[in-house]
């Protein structure tokens, strides 16, 4: 297991190195790096001073080395707009994004898995067809438009929920959270449901497909022959095995929720790092864009690493044959 973990860690580090190279290439090689990193409003003297300070007169490999050293020290430059370290800004907004993504993931699991089980168990019945139709609809709904419709219906027409923003937060264990208060939930509900819709469809399809596959297996036929109650068969034998592919994709799906939060946060004015990214792109605040990118890549690589480790723990076959997997 130690060797397996070590191999995975080395792989994750290799991916990080490659990604840092790509981000470096994207920011420093595409376009004029001075324009990217120096405030466009700066004077000519300031401009020349910054070119030297940034080491842009150095050969490319020296520049990359400096970039990596800065990266390892957590120094990605200051935001043009806010004047504070870019990385600090990202970390400030991160809890809001993780909160809405996590809430969406829980909602997707709580509704997608049971619906998928029913659809897989009774594929030909009206309810199975209805759930499948629902999942195709969910796949086709443009997320940002549904968000607008939510705002129109629940905030403007009915006036039940706020149209946007995060509302009051409570300081819990050093993090600002809104799930601890009712008012926080009122703000969180629409963005989280909006973000969850696509994943609900995905989980319905995934669960329904594996349920149908599992129902054909011998151990299910044996359980039926033994006279076990259908509820017990589905609740225990089917569910347990249907969860395997779900656990597999869970980590990546969480990562993709964090990414798609960019859209939902923009619609609902949710003050997370996704909205910060869009604002920074609009305002040409390049250091913040770079910081966001690196933080998200780090997040993805960590998630993958953890999922790989869990997989190795759960399934001995992966661990033993892991060398070439």
């Amino acid at each position: 297991m130690a060797w397996y973990a070590l191999a995975r860690l080395l792989q994750a580090l290799a991916v990080l190195a490659v990604m840092s190279l790509l981000v470096f290439a994207g920011v420093y090689a595409l376009g004029n790096p001075v324009d990217l990193l120096v405030d466009p409003n700066a004077g000519a003297a300031d401009y020349a001073r910054r070119v030297a300070a940034l080491g842009l007169d150095q050969p490319l490999w020296v520049q990359y080395a400096r970039f990596v050293v800065g990266l390892l020290h957590g120094d990605l430059g200051n935001s043009f707009v806010h004047g504070t370290p870019a990385l600090h800004l990202i970390f400030e907004r991160m809890p809001a994004t993780l909160e809405v993504s996590f809430a969406a993931l829980m909602m997707a699991l709580a509704s997608g898995v049971p619906l998928g089980l029913v659809a897989g168990f009774k594929p030909q019945s009206w309810i199975g067809r209805a759930i499948r139709a629902l999942s195709v609809l969910g796949f086709s709904l443009p997320t940002f438009w549904v968000g607008l419709m939510f705002i129109m219906l629940f905030a403007v027409e009915l006036g039940w929920l706020p149209a946007g923003g995060r509302g009051p937060t409570e300081h819990v264990l050093g993090i600002d959270l809104s799930i601890t208060t009712l008012e926080g939930w009122r703000h969180l509900l629409l963005p989280a449901v909006n973000l969850a819709l696509f994943k609900i469809s995905l989980l319905i399809r995934l669960t329904a497909a594996s349920t149908q596959e599992i129902l054909r297996q011998d151990y299910i036929r044996f359980a039926r022959a033994k006279g076990l109650h259908p509820v017990r068969i589905v609740g225990l034998h089917v569910l347990k095995n249907a969860l395997v592919p779900i656990v597999t994709v869970l980590g990546l799906e969480f990562g993709s929720l964090v990414a798609f939060a960019v859209v939902t946060e923009s619609v609902f004015a949710w003050p997370g790092m996704g909205k910060l990214l869009i604002d920074s792109i609009t305002l040409l605040d390049r250091p913040v864009v770079v910081a966001y990118l690196l933080v998200v890549v780090l997040l993805f690589v960590s998630i993958n690493f953890i999922v790989d480790l869990l997989y190795g723990l759960l399934d001995p076959r992966v661990r033993l044959g892991g060398a070439q997997a």
Partner: protein
């Protein structure tokens, strides 16, 4: 398989899927014929009357005979006309991105499958790496660096989607490669490219059609999202996503039509494409035959 007519007949056995195909054909025709169907040219500023701005559906124009059946936007533009032109742009971008992604994916996937060994492992590792990174972020960052524009958004969509095709192509090609007919043409001494394009490629196509259909829908949705976020198409060429974004600020004051109608059209388009893809998946997958 009994040819195209037989396939179409089997396709139409599912009435929902048949309706979806009809809807898609209708929307595609409407998009093609937009200059003739639209009551006004929404981008000819001379035809717009700012006094007619934000009129609700069914209003008559102040100065001309025109009736705004779906209302007008903030510039006094007829929504129906803007939507027809927007549909045109959305479909064009979606299809261009799919064609580009498919071409690149075919090239990479087939070479990967044929080369095998280290080359194959390296290419697929790169594809995996990219698939692990959400398409929307990749496209967003690319467009932030490139700037808005139809050509650039197509390039960003291709960059974000090629890996799906490459993996699908490689998967199918690996299976096909082992079959007897490939061994037979190899024994006949045919050249590598000839085997690739005349024998391997045609047999990989059915599986690719499904992936490509799904990706057209995904590309259109992604383009709409990027345009909504303001990094996709420029305001001079508004797709459906940009039309929806333009109506966002008026939604809170109850002027629903600027965002709602383009959104419904976008939903109809993507839904139709996804339903067609779903039906094709069942039809073209031998494992699901007879289900």
């Amino acid at each position: 398989m009994k040819g195209a007519a037989g396939l179409l007949a089997r396709y139409a056995e599912d009435r929902v899927a048949a309706a979806a195909l009809a809807l898609f054909a209708l929307l595609a025709l409407a998009a093609l014929a937009a200059p003739w169907l639209a009551p006004q040219n929404p981008y000819d500023l001379a035809q717009l009357d700012i006094l007619d701005a934000r009129l609700p559906p069914g209003s008559a124009a102040g100065a001309t005979e025109l009736v705004y059946r779906l209302g007008t936007d903030a510039q006094g533009r007829d929504m129906l006309s803007a939507m027809l032109y927007g549909l045109r742009i959305s479909l064009a971008v979606g299809f261009a991105a799919t064609a580009g992604g498919l071409a690149l994916g075919l090239l990479v996937g087939l070479s990967s499958a044929l080369a095998g060994g280290r080359v194959d492992a390296l290419i697929m590792r790169a594809a995996d790496l990219q698939l692990a990174f959400p398409a929307i972020l990749l496209a967003l960052i690319l467009l932030a660096a490139l700037g808005p524009g139809p050509g650039k958004i197509v390039a960003a969509l291709v960059a974000a989607q090629w890996a799906y095709y490459a993996r699908a192509v490689r998967g199918v090609a690996l299976v096909e490669r082992e079959k007897d007919y490939i061994a037979a043409v190899r024994l006949l001494g045919l050249s590598g490219p000839r085997i690739l394009f005349r024998h391997l490629l045609p047999n990989c196509l059915p599986a690719l059609i499904v992936v490509a259909t799904l990706q057209v829908g995904a590309a259109i949705a992604l383009e709409a999202t990027l345009s909504f976020l303001g990094v996709g198409l420029p305001v001079t060429e508004p797709s459906l996503g940009l039309l929806i974004a333009n109506g966002f600020q008026y939604l809170l004051s109850g002027k629903y039509w600027i965002s709602v109608f383009p959104g419904l059209l976008l939903l109809g388009l993507i839904l139709a494409i996804n339903l067609v893809a779903e039906r094709l998946r069942v039809l073209l997958n031998p494992r699901l035959q007879g289900v």
